[in-house]
Every structure is written in structure tokens, then in C-alpha cells.
Subunit: 132 residues, 6 copies
């Protein structure tokens, strides 16, 4: 199986208002360096799994509404705890929707699996991976 | 599938006393930067795959008996060759035991898979991944 | 499952002569930092998945005919577009052939899976992974 | 000249309320991976520039009041814009004060220079370096 | 002294046609991950050494004429050997000219020193640093 | 000023037998990823600060007598504590001697400064930098 992975990042504020989070219950923030990996069984006639330019564009597009935001204020996260895992799944769903809409180009339908990894520091990261 | 991965390290001495290891048959050592990845199908009500604080604690706990040691002197490795692969499996088993004992918190039972990666230099690493 | 991964690199010129590649249609180049991961179910009596020295040797051997070359001039890529994905598959096939020929030592037959990752920059990479 | 450098991190929220910051004027956040480098002309009788354990302790101590905070709420930053550069200087001053107080051990007086680097993403960082 | 450093990259082909370069005499290529560090003695009223957005813009601007090119074909390098060092100096001069032209904003005049680092692989890099 | 930096590594055992080292007093070990940076004011007619091939060769040569060794057993370190700083200075002296002997080629005399960095983990490193 082939995979193409591109990287971008976002810088957000949020609070994790549950007892389990200890000091992270207060308003703080994070840089998330985000990797999006697109998996295909085959390559197209141009030797591509996906168009890396479109992949980079789509990753930037889904990060844009979150970047430089306080996630506590965003309607899309109302009632949710915006842990790294939850954000990975949110970005997975957002990119999956764009793939379904054909925004990864003619090869969109070939993408079988997607993995979104969020690096939150030099010692911790989380990811969500799923079939499409 | 979700995964949460945390990082720590240990600095050990050992010798690999088999002919295949060439110069590594003598007493030498390594820094192993160790990643532990915990895989779950779902998140709990707090939006967590696992509690990253407990994950970091447990990784530190299993590294502690090895860190700053000469592995050749440790009873737990008697008769074994402490290659990077063997150490990855050793740490996998040690963390798996802690998961079974509930040390990863109420969500311990949700962990389906575990991967332990040991980076031994900028050009070599090894890992062991298995279901729980 | 165990894995051992080693790293090397190559520096090549090429052109990607299809419209989809935009500015990359012209002659340009890349450094590819290449990781080769060898997967086995078990370890041998020496505690090895594979011999890491042989793995490094074999990776260097398959990179050698490409390193410092203009890929457009190589017969092995005639009629092909040498995308990162295509190169990952090319190196996969080349190492798989060496495994089949026993060049990974007596444990060659134990290798069940292989993954070749090419890092083309700090923001993009691709890989091919397959069973042997 | 010798240098010893240690790494830790902090996760903070803040807003940069000046027109020049564009979208970063709103409340957002960052993970800062922080390196502290301690420079000495000589080593002590134990072969040390500084005690790396104390260095790590002191770095953690100065990060603690900022970690998991909204910097906009902290009295120490009242009237300041908490850019990466300002934070680098803040941490420099905080560690310099601890060095002056002898918290780096008997060798504190030997430290001639200090550099604090804040990595805010995979593509941007800032530092402040000064004599003591 | 303060520094702000930003990162980008370029992918180029070239040949190094002198005997000393051995196999690199032929046409090959490289990805250069490029860091540009801007040094100032002080910060402005907004807490900035330089505007990081402008820094990123200017770095992208000087890379653009080289990116996806065969450097052997560019008039600006006629009669030159485009080693990593030569390219570091070329980019230094190009950014220094933009600083002199005020393209780093009102704070351009405050920049005292500049360093351009080119990472050509995971094991080699070169840089040029100079006063302005 | 120009710099060219190359990377290699060594894996050693040692003990740090002074009270200040706590648990590191016992026999343990480390992987040191080693960077050697060579500084020159000018480039030669081939556009080189130094010959990167020779730099890599010389770095490998000075690491060889230490790699896969127990430093406690080496005569060259008798009576010394082999801290990261001491090892940085040892490697500095060894490479400086080779530069003095002309082993960096005809441009050896142009090297004005040398810096040796030892990365001992993902969170700690030390270096020695000096004029030649």
C-alpha cells in the first residue's frame, strides 16, 4: 500500500474542563504540527498516489478555521472536550468530507485510508486512522 | 483507530556476546529514546484514548529499572541477548502487565494494541507492536 | 510484530513531465532520506529480527545506482514518472529481490513485510509497504 | 567555550493585541519547546560545565509559572506583548536570576553566557543570548 | 542578542563540475531545507525582533527563482560552482539586499546580523553568517 | 563566516564515578550523535569551505577508537571523568590535530574555528567550540 504524507501546523487556545486534566483545565494553548497521510492501493498513470499539491491545499483548508482560535469559542466544538485525540478525529472527518467531495482531484476515489497525526510537543503526539 | 504516543529515554550499557554482532560483542552502551503508543477504538467521555499523564508515568516506571544500568548484570536479562528488538519486547511486556493491572486508569481495558519503539541513533530504530 | 528500520539517503535530479506537476515538470532535484523497515513475527536465537548491519548494507546497495544520478537518463526508469511514490516502490522491489536472494542473511526468509519511506523535505514524505 | 543545553516545553494561551500581528491578535496559543544553553570557559574537576540535573531542574522551575496558563492573565506580563522573543528574554532573565542566586550549584559563577531558544513550530523559532 | 529564525525549502538540480566532487560532478539534485535567522540587539514596541510574517515572505521570495530549477541553467550562477556554501552565500546576499530595501518592514534597519543555513540531508548542512 | 557541518555517531559504555552524578556513577552507556562544524572565512576556487567528504572521513576516524568501547577501559581517558563535555573536548582536540596534519586537504589551513556537538538524548546535548 502507498501513502503520501504532508505537514502543516496550527496554534490554538483551549481549556480541558474535566477533573482528569489537572492543570490543563485552565485556559492554555498548543501548537499542533499536523501530518495528513493518504493511503492508496495503486498509483495513477502519472505515478501518483494523490496530488501532493492538492493534499497540502486541503490540509491547510481544514486547519484554517481552527488556526489562531480559542477552540472554547467555536460552535463546532460546543459540548466537546478538545483533546488532541478529538482534534485528530475532527480533522480526519473534515478531510474525509473533502475527499468525498472530490477535492483531492480525480484520484479522490482511490484513497482507501487516512491518518491524521497531531504532534503537541517533542514528547507527545496522537493520531486517528481510519478507512474511507 | 486512535493512538496516543509518549516519549522518554534510558541510557544503558550492555554487550552482545554472539559472533554476529562483531564489534558490539564488547561492552558498550546506548541511549534509547523510547516511544510508547497506546491504541484504542474509541475515546472516553472526556475525549481521551488514554490519560497521557498516566501513560508518561507508566513509561517512566518501566524504564526506571533499566536506566543507568549495565544490562549484563540484570537478572531479568540472564541468558538473553539484549538487542534493541529484545528490549522493545521487554518494555512491551512490562507495559502490557501494567495495563492489565489497571495502571493506565479506568480506560486500561479499552487499550487494544501497544507499540514500543526504541530509537538507538539518528539512523536506526526498532519496535514491537502487538494486540493486548 | 517486530520491525527494524535503518536510514540512508540519495541526491538525484529528475523531471516530472506531466501537466499535473506544474513547476516540477522542469529538471530539478531532491534529497531523499530513505528509511527501510523490515518486519518479522519472531526473533532468531541471537535476539535479532534481522541483522542491522546487513540491512544497512542492502539499503546502501539499492540506493547506489540512483545516488548522484539524473533519473531521466536511467534505463530502469524509461517511460516512467519518477515520483516519490514510484521511487518508494522501485526501492521496495529492489530490496525485496535482495531478500529473496538471501542477502539479508540466514534470517531473510523470516521477513514478512517491508516498508520503504522517502522523506523529500521537512513537510512531505511518501512510502510503500507490502508483504513479501 | 563549552556549552550544555537541556530541553523542556510549555503550553500557553495568549493574544498579541497589536495590528501587526493580524490573525494572532485574537486569543490563541502555542507549545514552546524550550532549550536552555549554559556556556562556560572551563570544566570543573568533575568534568562538568554545569550540573545537567540542576540545569533541567532550573529550566522546569522557570517554565512552571507559565505552563498551562493564559499569559494575558499573568501580572508579570501586564502591558507587554508576549511574543516569542519577549518570552525568550523573560526566561533568560528568570534563569539568570537563579544562576546569580547559586541555584546551578557551586559552578554557577562559572557560567558566562546563556541562550534560551523557543521553538514555536516546525518552521519558526526565536532565541535570546546574552552574557551574564 | 535576539534572533528569529524561519524555515522553507527548495528542490534543485545541479552538477559540480570539478574533480574534487567525484560522483557529484554529474547532474544530480538536492532538497535544501533553508533556515534564515535574523539577529537584532533590541525588540521594537510590539515586542518583535522582526516581523516573522515578513521574514517568511522574504525567504520564500529569494528561494522562488531557484526552486524547481536546474542551477546549471541559471545566468546568476554562470561560472560558479553551486555548492551548499555558495548557495548559502547567494541567499544571504539576496536577503541582505531585501533588508537594505526595507522589505522586512520598519524594523529592517535594526537587523545587525543574518545567518542562512542549508540542510542538504540528515547528516550534512552548511551555513553563512555575516554582519549587515 | 562559512560553516560546514557533518554528522555521525558512537555507542559507548562508561561510569561517572563522582558523587555529583548520582545514578550515573554506575556503569551505563550512551549513544552520542556527533556533529562536527568547520568554520572558514572564505571559500576556495571550487566553492568549498572544506571538502565534505574529507570532513565525514575525519569525523569517522576520530570516533572509531571510542565506538563500541567501555571508555573506563581506555588509556586515553585514565583519571578523567568522561562527561559529554569532556568527550566533546576530546573529539575537538583529535580533529584539530588532524586539521593541523593536513588531513582535511589543501584547505586545512583555512579552518579558523571548530565546534563539536554531542547529542546524548532528545533532551540534552553539549558542545565545545574553539579557534584553531
Amino acid at each position: 500500500m502507498f501513502a503520501v504524507e504532508v505537514r502543516d501546523h496550527m496554534m490554538i487556545a483551549h481549556s480541558l474542563k474535566r477533573e482528569v486534566f489537572g492543570p490543563a483545565q485552565g485556559l492554555h494553548g498548543a501548537t499542533f504540527v499536523v501530518d495528513a497521510a493518504f493511503f492508496t492501493q495503486d498509483l495513477d498513470d502519472d505515478g501518483l498516489g494523490i496530488d501532493i499539491g492538492l493534499a497540502t491545499q486541503v490540509l491547510g483548508d481544514v486547519l484554517k478555521p481552527l488556526n489562531y482560535q480559542n477552540l472554547d469559542d467555536l460552535a463546532m466544538f460546543a459540548g466537546k472536550v478538545t483533546t488532541t485525540e478529538v482534534l485528530a478525529k475532527h480533522l480526519f472527518d473534515a478531510i474525509a468530507a473533502k475527499i468525498a467531495a472530490g477535492e483531492l482531484g480525480p484520484g479522490s476515489g482511490r484513497i482507501e485510508k487516512l491518518r491524521i497525526t497531531l504532534h503537541e510537543s517533542h514528547v507527545a503526539r496522537a493520531w486517528y486512522e481510519g478507512a474511507l
